[in-house]
């Protein structure tokens, strides 16, 4: 922090040309300064509860941190990445708020009031007292902050979908993808803690034979990768409501043509007052079905996959643990969602694991 004398020097220099002001200031000499407030700044941000916080001192200092950027009007990518981050937060468990802290900073601070951020977080069942904070602030400050944190898109619409992760004490910073494997992303965050050790996994694939396990023989898995990537963050098939409806049986209860259109342009159909879209939106008011940029082929593949899963679900409807095919999410089948009332968004942040 600058001393009062520094400020006085600024005041004096400000009487001169701005350029002279700048040259009058002292130059730091250390070769590899730690990235602290000097790099990140202590610019003020406002939390979802209206509390004012300083970027470095209050949010980063001495912590393992995860940053991403959102804005609440962005019901597409931001919902999607937030839902996926909720899964990661869930897996990190009670370390969130203890030594790991998650921050979602608004790229649309003029519009995103603390109230809006609170409602957005609530839609994903995020307990904002437990170490995941949503932040807004002065647009000029946020411009500087996002630049510092590597979010340098030309417009807010092309913001990045990765997360910045770091350990301040070690001054160690890197990125991980929220679009890729969530298991790997969770592992990357835990690796910020030098004392973390990967759990000992069962020995795999040490066979010396010349045929692979039958699991990897190619079969028609059309739509599966897409379901894992774009749907599983919010929906289950036969394991109950997550943030959106359980998709078991969706290919029976909805008209195929309607499904095809809805998967491609849910926002347009909602705006145009399609009765089913409006009813779904009323039933799950906090999380809008996002536009995912699917082509007609993509949508048809997804419908094929949803139908296939339902075919195999006769027994899973009774024993729901077998339902998930989410490879990124492996061992964490959606175990305790099946008893949730079908209409209420599920409070996802409060599980004990």
């Amino acid at each position: 922090m600058p001393h009062a004398s520094t400020i006085r020097r600024w005041t004096a220099a400000a009487l001169l040309a701005a350029t002279a002001l700048l040259t009058a200031l002292a130059t730091r000499g250390d070769a590899a300064p730690k990235r602290d407030a000097g790099y990140f700044t202590n610019l003020p941000l406002v939390t979802q509860d209206g509390e004012m916080v300083a970027l470095y001192d209050d949010l980063i200092k001495d912590r393992i941190v995860v940053f991403n950027f959102i804005y609440t009007d962005c019901n597409d990518l931001c919902s999607f990445t937030t839902a996926r981050m909720a899964q990661i937060a869930d897996w990190l468990g009670d370390r969130v708020g203890r030594d790991i802290f998650l921050y979602s900073i608004s790229l649309d601070p003029a519009n995103d009031t603390p109230e809006k951020l609170r409602a957005f977080a609530a839609g994903f069942g995020i307990d904002t007292d437990a170490g995941w904070t949503f932040l807004t602030g002065d647009p000029a400050d946020i411009d500087v902050i996002r630049f510092k944190l590597g979010e340098r898109g030309d417009t807010k619409y092309d913001h990045r979908s990765d997360m910045l992760i770091g350990n301040d004490r070690l001054d160690f910073w890197r990125r991980t993808s929220v679009m890729g494997s969530l298991k790997v992303a969770t592992q990357n965050i835990l690796q910020m803690d030098p004392d973390w050790r990967a759990p000992i996994a069962p020995d795999m694939l040490t066979e010396t034979g010349d045929r692979p396990a039958t699991d990897f023989i190619i079969s028609d898995r059309r739509g599966e990768a897409m379901f894992v990537k774009v749907c599983a963050a919010c929906h289950t098939i036969g394991s109950g409501v997550k943030f959106g409806p359980d998709l078991a049986g969706v290919t029976l209860r909805r008209n195929p043509d309607w499904l095809l259109r809805y998967l491609q342009a849910p926002d347009v159909m909602l705006r145009d007052g399609d009765p089913t879209a409006v009813a779904l939106n009323a039933r799950y008011p906090a999380v809008k079905m996002p536009f995912m940029g699917l082509t007609e082929t993509d949508a048809a593949d997804l419908i094929f996959y949803l139908g296939q899963q339902f075919d195999g679900l006769d027994s899973a409807l009774i024993t729901p643990t077998a339902a998930s095919h989410d490879h990124a999410n492996h061992d964490h089948a959606f175990h305790d969602h099946s008893d949730v009332p079908q209409t209420a968004p599920h409070d996802h942040g409060k599980h004990d694991h």
Partner: protein, 773 residues
Amino acid sequence: MYLPFNASRRRQREAQNARNNRAEIVKALSTGEVSRRELMKWGIFTATGALANVNGLSPFATSAWAQEDTGVPLSPTFGVQPFTQPLKRLDLQTPETLTPIMRGGEIDVAFPAGTGELAGRRMSYHTDYLMSGRLMYGNATTGRGPLEGRPPGAYFAHQRWAEYLPQKGYVMSLVPTAPTWGFHPDLPVQEENKVWTFCKGHGTQATTKPPLIKIRYGEPVLFRHYNGLPEQESKNGGFGSHSQSTHNHNAHNASASDGASNAHFFPGQFYDYHWSTTLARADTINKTMTDRRASGPDGNGGLVHVKGDYRELQSSLWFHDHRFFYTAENVYKGHLGAINMYSGPDRGNEVLNDGVNKRLPSGSLLDWGNIDFDVNLVISDAGLDEEGQYFFDIFNTDGFLGDLMMVNFGYKPFMEVLPRKYRFRLLNACMSRFIRLQLRTALGDAVPMTLIATDGNLLPRPFSLNLLDTMGVAERFDIVVDFSSFAVGQRINMINLITHTSGRGPKGQVNYKVADNGRSGDPATGSLLQFRIVDSVESVDVPGVTHYASQPDPSQVPGRLTDQIPVVEPTRVRLIELRRGQENPIDPATGDCNPSCMRREIYPWSMRVNGDNLGGFNANHISALVPKPGEVEHWVLRNPSSGWDHPVHLHFEEGVTIDRGGKAMSKTEKLARKDVWRLGEAGEVRMQVRFGEYGGAYVSHCHNTVHEDSAMIMRFDILTDPNNPYSSRTHSAVMPTPNPTPEGVTYTTPELLPEGNPFDPGFQPFPVIPPLP
């Protein structure tokens, strides 16, 4: 990005101060020590609350002197002038001889007694570690996980191990530099962990420039790479990951030895890469090894014949880090080296005359692999902080530009040459910078260059030119320069003409005068290397021998070096776009977009195959599947964006460049065999490729490594033919994705994207290719 080098001292000081003071001002503001109102009064803030466009204050401010970015301060050079240090040749490695030993049904290869190295095995020691109940073959340095980082089991066992059994072994360690290591004798030495590069054997400190490894066809190599980096991940000098993975660019190796299948390894571990020297098409062409051109030198003037197509012989390769999400930082940090591949026609001997050898400039003291007149030039850019320490901006995702040009990791050196022909193997080893090179005498006369190879592939017919094509990152040009018309004492500069203002792509090109006089706007243009004609040079092939200008030059540049692979009808075509997600969706209600479409978020960059919209690289998803070896594919690589350019790299195989979708092509590009293509802004390249011999997971990606780290990468899997007795049966199906941790590697089942999977019922072998926008 950088201030021009003729920027006034005041402006440079300002930029540095701005870098520091911006932070001070906003910090003071945020802690209430100064109010926004006060800053407004001083003219530092605008009424809308933004930092004013006062030079250097706002990261978005424009300069008071020029309408461009304020820029970051120039790297200090501490008064060091260009061309004041001799060019350091790459650090030539000498291999160990390996001996086959039988162990049950396995053949191992033993290092010489006394080296203390474990024998090379087909299957990773990770397998033995697990089978011993984690009691043996552990990582002794850290006490965590297995000794070898190569994943366990059959998927990462070396393919065709016995057939291409390693005869030579290189043991090298990637380590921090010694406290004597610098970019120039008069520039500051680099602090520990600023530069990580190679040392010989199982050492702990690097003292030399990046390595050169000479390999010949018919003599397979085991490259044992120790990771000698700090165990604590944060001890990285501000950038770089201590987990590493080595890609041999662009050799014909199995997936486990390609270094890009998400199998990185950790401090204290080694990874055995099997650099097989397989000549492509070994399973389909010249299987009986009768073609003398498909061969390597035997060391006694003769040839060792190999299977495969002589038209696919390779020459100038390199190896570098390929750790996903860290490639830019790690390569910039020094994880790179050059590989010269020697063959019957490209022997590295300019005298030997057997009808196969092309006698390209090299030397003749050794039977093969002479480098007295065959010189590797690794060109890269560097940024230094105020103290002269190596600098990288890890928060810049557009592309990183350095402002100091380096050759072989030395700042602007000179090289003494005899008045005769030389071969230069040029490599653009920058992270994001494109370069375009020219040779000029002190009087400004252009010196002609004869282009003999593109990306390590000999041209059928070499030709002369005064200005090379632009080189994207990782592109290689081999040229021959004839200095014989110059007198001792004359000097010739190698000049870069391409300017950048950001890492997104090049901005333009200037003429050589502007490039050198500081008015180009980019401090990295201009002369980067100086040749000085002298009358004698010391041999590097046989130390102690001196070569004189008076000796005859027996080297040749024949009119024909190899034969063209014809372009034929493909089995399938793939459209591979480097773009963001769908940006202009069609409204399903109206079939129309404007004005009924809503504003949509723009999905992240990726490489998208046949219209796949869900990219976002994930080592676990397979964008394209090559179902069987030998089929001809045409790939259309397309960059629909203006304002960005991408040099796209294909691993494992080279392609024949066909066209640019109606746009003009240079003579260099036409039908050239390459492995990196610059797509151009709103441009595309169509090329022909054929896969074979090996299987497993490979990648294709943008070689602007900063873009690559931002997911501009796709995984493609190649399946082997289960009926081919030579190739791996394990890899006749898709392989699982390794997930490495210091404790060991586990596997995940990959996802197959249907657009790239020929087994999918909806697969389009000939997709509709819309015209470029």
